[in-house]
Symmetry: C2
Subunit: 355 residues, 2 copies
């Protein structure tokens, strides 16, 4: 059994931060983290000791059940205009903190007609960055399911289409106990598809000599995992071995850089340096990693311009790669829990040596 998530503790922690103020969040992931409610429409308001969740008629019973743990007051209205009126009533009389990065512009303007909004970074978003043991247990289970699915499917891959490999991986993860895939599984093989970091799987058949990138994760109780493995079908060419070795070295160096207190930009710089030294920096098309939790991409982001610091309890990826049209590409990605002295790996699928 997975440990229970303590929404009451979260509610209390956020209430302390909100103090005498009023906090509104319209971000559904923030609502889920704070209250337990999972839906495609809703908001939460923290006001003094009170916590309110608003949603529409499709989700009334579900919201009541799911928020029982934090004892929120659920407000259900079938019509959007009535739900808006109820929200305005709740927010009356004082300035309301709302995160502009998590709010649609149109919605902001509509609310601002009736309510005094104060743009503020959400304390929920900040709190979400460091994971508790119940969250780590979910992410770790998700990661182990993806490990097992890849181990099952990998040996059968040659001759299958990218799309069939994706379907097999995703089906296997459900069979192994995942609630869903974590994101659209990436299966990118050969000189053109492999050169695209975010290629969608196609009906192309995976063939001897192809570089292969598989980027796969599972979803467990809302929590994501994220992992990438790469290799070559059959014997690798000299250039394939050279590029793969660079990616593997960059990823080792990046992992070694992760620890509490390190700047996210330094993790990126460590990986990037390996590519720069070898003259392949222009084959590196993306940042080096990101946080993972209820969202597949969360802060902190390991990127050159990042101002963030990595902290113990964060769960982050390290995922350098090299890509070039006509060659293909490789990416290696692990998911790790940041600790005081370094990190603990959550993904354990073996990394190949190229033949």
């Amino acid at each position: 059994m997975l440990p229970l998530i303590d929404h009451l503790r979260r509610r209390q922690a956020i209430a302390e931060q909100v103090g005498d103020g009023v906090l509104l969040t319209t971000d559904l992931t923030d609502v889920r983290w704070l209250t337990g409610f999972v839906g495609s429409s809703g908001w939460a308001v923290a006001r003094g000791d009170d916590l309110f969740v608003g949603t529409d008629g499709r989700y009334g019973d579900k919201a009541t059940d799911e928020t029982a743990g934090c004892d929120a007051t659920v407000i259900v209205e079938r019509h959007a205009s009535k739900l808006h009126d109820r929200l305005v009533e709740l927010l009356a009389g004082g300035p309301v903190a709302l995160d502009p990065a998590a709010t649609n512009h149109d919605r902001w303007l509509t609310l601002a007609c009736d309510v005094e909004l104060v743009p503020s970074e959400s304390p929920i978003r900040a709190a979400r960055r460091v994971k508790d043991h119940a969250e780590i247990a979910r992410i770790e289970r998700a990661a182990s399911i993806a490990d097992a699915a890849l181990a099952d499917v990998e040996p059968e891959m040659e001759g299958m289409t990218e799309l069939d490999v994706r379907a097999e991986l995703e089906h296997r993860m459900i069979t192994l106990g995942a609630d869903d895939r974590s994101y659209d599984t990436i299966v990118a093989a050969g000189p053109e598809h492999g050169a695209r970091p975010h290629h969608g799987a196609s009906r192309r058949v995976i063939t001897e000599g192809d570089t292969v990138i598989i980027d796969v994760g599972a979803l467990v109780d809302g929590y994501h995992s994220d992992m990438t493995r790469s290799w070559v079908i059959g014997d690798a060419s000299g250039q394939q071995r050279e590029i793969y070795a660079l990616v593997a070295e960059s990823q080792r160096v990046g992992l070694a850089a992760v620890a509490h207190g390190v700047r996210a930009s330094d993790v990126d710089a460590a990986c990037r340096q390996i590519f720069d030294d070898a003259g392949y920096l222009d084959w590196y098309l993306h940042g080096t990693g990101h946080g993972v939790g209820l969202d597949i991409h969360e802060p902190p982001f390991h990127a050159p311009a990042s101002q963030e610091v990595v902290e113990a309890g964060m769960v982050v990826t390290v995922e350098p790669g090299l890509y070039r049209g006509g060659f293909g590409g490789f990416r290696i990605e692990d998911l790790v829990l940041v600790t005081d002295t370094g990190h603990r790996l959550l993904t354990h699928a073996p990394k190949r040596e190229l033949n």
Copy 2:
């Protein structure tokens, strides 16, 4: 083969509407519809006869390939700040139309520092409502794949878990040629789960006497289908037969109301009236339908407060349902192409008579 999508024609149609102005869209679905580019990050600018697509390094080659049909100029920058600068350069000198409903508030504020923004409903969104023959072909294929998957899985459902049924349906759709599921397939069985219109599939075993709701669609080249069927496992009770008959009648009446020029609120009212007459209106927890295309939920929305009119060439759902904790629920949903005189069904899975 599916007919090609004519992005050049779309580009010309939008350029005519933009005239001497400048249009920016940051909505990824609008970008896809207009240019063919599919990614998780990007924007498009229409300015006189020019069309620009901007994105980050992960998508450079992909964007160039995918926009070849409309001959857009692709701008690629690896760093977000540089891509922002390039966008500001493109937009310099004149007022820029941007849809507030499709833009994040934070992003709006950032852009507004450098550019004169004019809040305007996007002409792309308006144009997307009426589908052309290439879009209808994709939606129709997606619908037929979901029909076939349901026909395969339905007879084996008793004794399976909701999650297993979902996994089988989704796997079957891929095997039948779908690129993906259209949305998280809903499998909701029994007195509690069936009472929740948007229940996620669980490990509950589907058992004799359960009401069952299956809401399933496929994705073909970015286009969605959407369909719901309901029934009872084994023999139905008197109440189950009564409620099912009401839902079936409401859905027939709703379908009959769909035609070019009809108000979307009247489609909703037609379905709602059946439930109201029978004294079950408080079991009806949602609107009656929505448009379907590159997004699974698009305008028009069949809802009491809708101001929209249904037009020939739109693809819409009609999906009344009744739900109650302790009883369960039923929903029946078809996807139809609106025609001048009525509609053409795109979903053909048989609707059950209850035993």
